[in-house]
Symmetry: C2
Subunit: 198 residues, 2 copies
Amino acid sequence: MKLHHSSNSPFVRKCLVTAAELGLSDQLERLACAASPVTRDRDIIASNPLGQVPTLTTDDGQVLYDSRVICEYLNNLAGGSLYPQDLRQRWTALTDQSLADGILDAALLVRYETTLRPEQYRWADWITGQLDKFTTALTHFETRVSGFGGRVDIGTITLACALRYLDLRYPDLQWRDQYPRLTAWYQVYSQRPACQVI
Amino acid sequence: MKLHHSSNSPFVRKCLVTAAELGLSDQLERLACAASPVTRDRDIIASNPLGQVPTLTTDDGQVLYDSRVICEYLNNLAGGSLYPQDLRQRWTALTDQSLADGILDAALLVRYETTLRPEQYRWADWITGQLDKFTTALTHFETRVSGFGGRVDIGTITLACALRYLDLRYPDLQWRDQYPRLTAWYQVYSQRPACQVI
């Protein structure tokens, strides 16, 4: 399988961690590319009209995106259990994935606003609104994380990727100061071998 | 079930059309709300920390989002066939959903840029990059739509919602002028009873 890849994309990382959890890392060949919402990468667009990473080409030539589809495909390929069979647990895992994906969407929008967009076109209210999603989302996870137990599923994988991305791009947030239970959970969870993938 | 709803949200519409395809429309109670990425709606946030619609509360009290999770939940609840059992068809349907969702994401970002953001902070390159996604995505669907046959799945539902949203918000695009096969497909598909939902 070939994965259009960008080393700083948190959504690519989500696929790499998922592959590692499933023992599939060796089967993923990484294709470096330079996705950007403004200078669009024509190499990626040839496979994925959205011009975004991650994009996966399977061994039988099917092109899959985005990260949600790729992760589910990988889980199916490996006969994995990252998507719970129990329905209530399944919807919880998928909604947690949506929430953590939403943190990442907001994080990327703020990053585009503060690094890609020329300074004179930046709008403080937009940044405030997106950053507020971090607060409401992390507060929500903080209230629930004590009940996660040993969960390892697509929801917890995505949450771990979101927290790592906040550490990478928003160290000044110092989210650990406000969310002690989430901090304790992540301290243990992030030591999983799959989370060491680079 | 209760659906946090905004009448102009294309992602809400996707859930409503899906529910209609599955015969579940009567079971969805709509809760009106005013989601915005800048003035965030605290009523929605109490259920969904992202403050976005659609958000669904199931009859047994589980809160689900975003549209992808809600549509899959509805399909499962109804024992529907909007997610193909055949794996190759399933990944195609899910990737088509991602692509059409991507059109909608771009359409919303352009709309926020051109209506919500104060004029002095608008950035032409951002708009150009997002609008280019319409072109590359519609060109891709144009090359494949002749092979869709009688497909009715989460991919075609989302595509129809995306085309409808382009008609609603971007009539000047006149997409039909450039994509005759997509036009022919949509002309037939949009007459399905489920697509008449308001």
